[in-house]
Symmetry: C2
Subunit: 162 residues, 2 copies
């Protein structure tokens, strides 16, 4: 084990963050975090990189993709270690994102209440599916409120399971 250096090995970063070594390597290769190199060529990380890894892990928990996370990390200074203020700014963005997601769910739930009443669950009329964030362009009205369920015609045979 490496003794005493301001730099951390990939294994240490992995241990500190609880992630797999391969994940850390992946983030470094993707440029999400910065890896320096030892004389022998092994990756070495500054402590501030750990914070970035933490940021990545937490953001993923909130449902952000690595692409989105990259966008946030790009807002950090590239020439100096990020300060508390730098991180706080991004944390605030987090809070906003959470609030937004919650508001979305709340709208969804309200609409759902109506849906439980009507029991429709039809894509074209369902308020959940056709929220304000995405409107599917659909054909003429589908009638999920029982129109005529008789009129059997063509014979059928069950699908061979598989």
């Amino acid at each position: 084990m490496p003794r005493k250096s301001p730099f951390l090995t990939i294994g240490e970063v992995a241990a500190r963050t609880g992630l797999a070594v391969s994940a850390i390597r992946y983030y470094a290769d993707e440029g999400l975090i910065t890896a320096l190199r030892s004389e022998g060529g092994n990756r070495r990380f500054t402590r501030s990189e750990i914070r970035k890894v933490s940021f990545i892990a937490i953001s993923q928990r909130l449902g952000f993709s690595l692409a989105e996370i990259r966008g946030q990390l790009d807002r950090l200074p590239g020439d100096r270690p990020p300060t508390k203020a730098d991180w706080a700014r991004i944390s605030t963005g987090f809070r906003d994102a959470i609030d937004e997601r919650m508001a979305q769910l709340e709208r969804l739930r309200d609409r759902l209440d109506g849906c439980i009443g009507c029991g429709c669950l039809s894509l074209d009329t369902c308020a959940i599916y056709n929220g304000d964030d995405k409107a599917a362009a659909l054909g003429p009205g589908a009638n999920w409120v029982e129109k005529r369920e008789s009129d059997l015609g063509r014979p059928v045979r069950p699908q061979p399971a598989g």
Copy 2:
């Protein structure tokens, strides 16, 4: 185009739900929905299958995986078309799931407020990451509140961008 039958072609199901034909086929192959067959071997769907497809699409919007959705769909009767009550029961499950997700986010947000204050974002101490739903087993305290950032030692060279 098929004229007048209580059964729908895969293309009609796709058009009604706004999904791709390949997606419908995939769901049928996976057994999430039931496909009957025409004499010639083409898939034929009852109207209630559309509702299932809608259910799948909506559930995915709420962040459920197909595996979870399958679990819900399995609760529907296999021998008869689902009634309004059957669907309402599942819709209620929806509502509960949304409420749960919202509660999770709310806890997250409250914890985040503390984090913005401390500016930590450290995986082992961060309240967001170490929520009540998952506790990472980590080593002895990582000190992200600046311990000693001096003591440079081993030389390093930047990683070849790639």
